[in-house]
């Protein structure tokens, strides 16, 4: 088990390295640079800015410089927010995205499993259809439609909650967390329902029932864990996406997380920032995939490890 973990962590290093390299070259090959603007700056001025950030050097030389910095964990200054380094901006924004993402994950896992289970147990009944229709709606209606609807309902029509903005209080967290959780609740509910139905048909469940194990015990001890496996697999990449913030949610609710950097830095050609957020996202994916693989290994009685 321990060896597995070490092996995974060591294996992630070349992956991140490859990710950084591809990101480095792709961003610099894309047309446009960080300092072009429609203010039509004189060419000498742009040349000077490019020189200050070493963008006038040949690519392989810039890459060498980048590697040297990365070894020392230095991601450099942001090319757009000139007073801040990439590390500072991520340090400020990541905890916020993390907090919202973590809460959203807890909520959607809980409610997704709950609704999925209920739908599976009351299969083909009214409850099942109702839950599944809502689920379909949650999956199909985009976040940028649901979020403004929540804002209008709770912020403008009834002044229950702030329309947007972040002051660290739970009140400014509720709507973004709900908007983020809803589509995932829907997806997890569907996933759980299908998985539970399949598990309930399996041989060992029939055996347990035949042996006289109570329905509640059958469900909680035997069916639950098996049914959760697909959900756990889903959690890996999903958690990585949620804790690094959603561009749409953070823009609409004016949340100062790192979600919006993913898109905005690319548009601004802020090379260093793009690299920073890409590496964070990559690391999160690797980390959470590793965690969920471990959990699955632990929980799966068929597993030969642990």
């Amino acid at each position: 088990m321990f060896r597995q973990i070490i092996r995974r962590i060591l294996g992630s290093i070349p992956t991140l390295f490859a990710l950084a390299t591809v990101t480095f070259f792709v961003t610099r090959i894309a047309p446009g640079g960080p300092f072009s603007s429609d203010k039509k700056l004189p060419a000498e001025v742009i040349a000077k800015m490019n020189a200050m950030y070493h963008l006038d050097e040949p690519l392989w030389m810039q890459y060498g410089r980048f590697l040297k910095d990365v070894i020392h964990f230095n991601l450099g200054p942001s090319m757009y927010y000139k007073e801040y380094s990439v590390a500072e901006l991520i340090h400020q924004g990541f905890p916020i995205s993390l907090e919202i993402g973590a809460w959203a994950t807890l909520i959607y896992v809980f409610f997704g499993l709950l609704f999925g289970f209920i739908a599976a147990l009351k299969r083909n009944g009214i409850v099942d259809y109702a839950v599944m229709t809502l689920a379909m709606g949650g999956i199909v209606i985009p976040t940028f439609v649901i979020a403004p609807m929540l804002q209008i309902a709770f912020g403008v029509a009834f002044h229950f909650l702030p329309v947007g903005g972040w002051d660290g209080s739970w009140r400014s967290m509720i709507l973004p967390i709900c908007a983020m959780a809803l589509p995932n609740i829907a997806y997890v509910a569907r996933l759980t329902r299908g998985s539970v139905i399949e598990v309930l048909r399996s041989n060992y469940i029939r055996t347990a029932r035949a042996k006289g194990v109570g329905e509640w015990q059958t469900l909680s001890r035997h069916a639950l864990v098996a049914a959760m496996m697909p959900v756990i697999a889903y959690l890996g990449p999903a958690t990585a996406a949620l804790v690094t913030g959603s561009m749409v949610i953070e823009t609409i609710f004016a949340i100062p997380g790192i979600g919006r950097y993913f898109v905005q830095s690319a548009i601004d050609r802020d090379y260093t920032m793009v690299m920073g957020v890409t590496l964070i996202y990559g690391s999160c994916i690797i980390l959470f995939n590793m965690v969920t693989d471990l959990i699955q290994a632990l929980l799966d009685p068929r597993s030969t490890h642990g």
Binding site: P31, G32, G33, F35, S36, S37, D38, K39, K40, L41, P42, A43, V45, K48, M49, M52, Y80, Y81, K82, E83, Y84, L89, Q92, G93, P148, Q151, I152, G155, V156, H159, P162, V163, G164, G165, W166, T251, I252, F253, A254, P256, G257, R260, Q264, I267, R269
Partner: protein
């Protein structure tokens, strides 16, 4: 009565009465201003953004300021003179000026700030203000590292006086001194921090304006509170101003409607008609210095033929484009300069005087004359940034309807479009230029020939007129006359064809007083008050 009622109730009553009596003393007036997307920097000399200047303008004060009506007023300088030849400006500071930390504001602080604009080590993109807009003596040489700072024509003969020497006179110079780029710098803090001040750290920031920085939360808000050391602090009515980052326009509108913010930075285009109906008194439509034009590459087919260029210009129904297609309050434009000194006579496209029906007729005739028709259809590609989608598609549709021509539209995100533009391999684009100050020279300087710009147009007559204008800048009427002729020359060539000047739309709550409409942007908070 129970024991409770006898003791607790009277106590509670007294307490709440006490609080009610005390509260007016604690009531602080706070203005929440929607800001748009997060400020890129609060460094006055490095900042390029127009919006950031609202925050910087509340924090710092330059020699002169712009009032809500767009007029220049004394700022840190109480009076100034310009020499007869227009080449020397002398500013006299008020007595008793202080920085937010109590240090006196001295002329050397202004020299420090101004030199920083052109300091090669700082690398400010605003250096052209003092090199080409104002041709300060030796500014260019200093910026290129050829001379030292003490050779530059920016001097403080004593603590109360600043003298700026120019190579060429520039009547609109005062506007440059209203820009926050020319803000003074607290020399001691600057020396201590080296070449880069951590400006956004309230602990380090020393400012001389009406407000000081209290809190800066990146991507979220900037909180300012009143500066007790400001010379005019007694007239500043709002105690605290919070600039809220509102990246999403629709969210900003909802924040305004729910009362979370008191003013906005914009109104979403699709919501403008509804907003006009629901809150007409709160909507402010303010002219800007942002001119938008159709650019045609004069040395490429089919634009080589001036008849084609004229026809394309005549056929654009500018009023229809704004009223029915763009619908964001922009104003049709037939000149290349706007919102400036009434003494200046701007050039005008000849078709300005005709009706659209007449323009369409002449356009069709010219196109036929140039040899285009059903046998030889006119077609070309228009490149542009995605943000001008509606405008470009609207113009293409108008051309199709009026002239029967089909154009290809190639839109890209702004940075990609700029790359294409700079190569020069295009025949038509919609471009724009935000003037730095309200005088034709700013837009006309932008049209002068440059090898790197991607615009191939070079007209010796135009260049000469612009040089003549600069040479005669000391004499206002001759200066204006040459500029006017230059503007007319460009318009007559139909290579840069004005379409519209943009309008800013803001929402301002009725209890916010002091707001006025002016092309220089939103008013400084020190001029505003809240009356609830």
């Amino acid at each position: 009565m129970s024991q409770f009622k006898k003791t607790v109730l009277p106590a509670a009553l007294a307490f709440s009465l006490g609080m009610a009596l005390m509260s007016p003393a604690f009531a602080e007036s706070v203005l929440n201003r929607g800001f748009g997307s997060a400020p890129s920097t609060l460094d006055p000399q490095l900042n390029q953004g127009a919006r950031e200047n609202y925050i910087i303008g509340d924090l710092y004060e330059g020699l002169v300021v712009t009032d809500p009506h767009g007029n220049t007023q004394p700022g840190q300088a109480e009076k100034w003179e310009v020499s007869a030849d227009g080449k020397t400006w002398t500013f006299h500071l008020r007595d008793g000026l202080k920085w937010s930390n109590g240090d006196p504001v001295v002329a050397g602080d202004f020299v420090c700030g101004l030199l920083r604009i052109i300091d090669p080590k700082v690398g400010s993109t605003n250096s052209y203000y003092l090199i080409s807009v104002l041709t300060v003596t030796n500014a260019k040489a200093f910026n290129e590292g050829k001379v030292s700072a003490d050779q530059v024509g920016i001097k403080a003969p004593d603590d109360q006086t600043i003298v700026i020497s120019l190579e060429n006179p520039m009547p609109a110079a005062l506007y440059i001194f209203t820009t926050l780029t020319t803000a003074p710098l607290h020399e001691a803090s600057y020396e201590k921090a080296g070449n880069k001040i951590d400006y956004t750290n309230p602990a380090n920031m020393v400012t001389n304006g009406a407000y000081v920085l209290k809190e800066f939360v990146p991507q979220s808000k900037v909180v300012l509170v009143r500066n007790p050391n400001y010379w005019d602090a007694k007239d500043v009515k709002i105690d605290s101003v919070i600039y809220d980052v509102t990246e999403d326009e629709s969210t900003e509108l909802k924040l305004y409607k729910s009362g979370a913010i008191d003013t906005t930075i914009t109104v979403p285009a699709e919501q403008l008609p509804a907003v006009k109906q629901e809150m007409p008194k709160e909507l402010i439509q303010s002219p800007t210095l942002g001119v938008r034009f159709l650019s045609l590459q004069s040395d490429a087919e089919p634009m080589k033929d001036i008849r084609v260029r004229k026809a394309l210009s005549y056929a654009i129904d500018r009023e229809f484009l704004q009223d029915k297609i763009e619908k964001i309050g922009n104003i049709p434009l037939y000149s290349l300069s706007v919102n400036q000194d009434p003494d200046y006579k701007p050039g005008k496209l000849e078709e300005a005087a005709w009706t659209q029906a007449q323009r369409n007729e002449k356009a069709k005739a010219l196109l036929a004359e140039a040899g285009y028709g059903p046998n030889k259809p006119l077609t070309f590609t228009v490149i542009g940034p995605s943000k001008y989608k509606r405008r470009i598609e609207g113009i293409a549709a108008i051309w199709k309807k009026t002239l029967g021509i089909r154009v290809n539209i190639d839109l890209n995100e702004t940075k990609v479009w700029l790359e294409k533009l700079n190569t020069g391999n295009w025949v038509a684009t919609i471009d724009g230029y935000g003037g730095d100050y309200p005088l034709a020279k700013t837009w006309l300087d932008n049209l002068r020939h440059s090898d790197q710009s991607g615009y191939h147009w070079l007209d010796d007559k135009y260049e000469k007129l612009m040089d003549d204008a600069n040479a005669n800048a000391a004499d206002k009427s001759r200066f204006y006359d040459y500029l006017s002729q230059a503007e007319q020359e460009v318009l007559n060539q139909y290579v840069t064809i004005p379409i519209t000047v943009s309008t800013d739309n803001f929402l301002v709550k009725p209890y916010v007083k002091g707001w006025a409409v002016n092309p220089m942007g939103q008013p400084l908070t020190k001029y505003l008050s809240i009356e609830k």
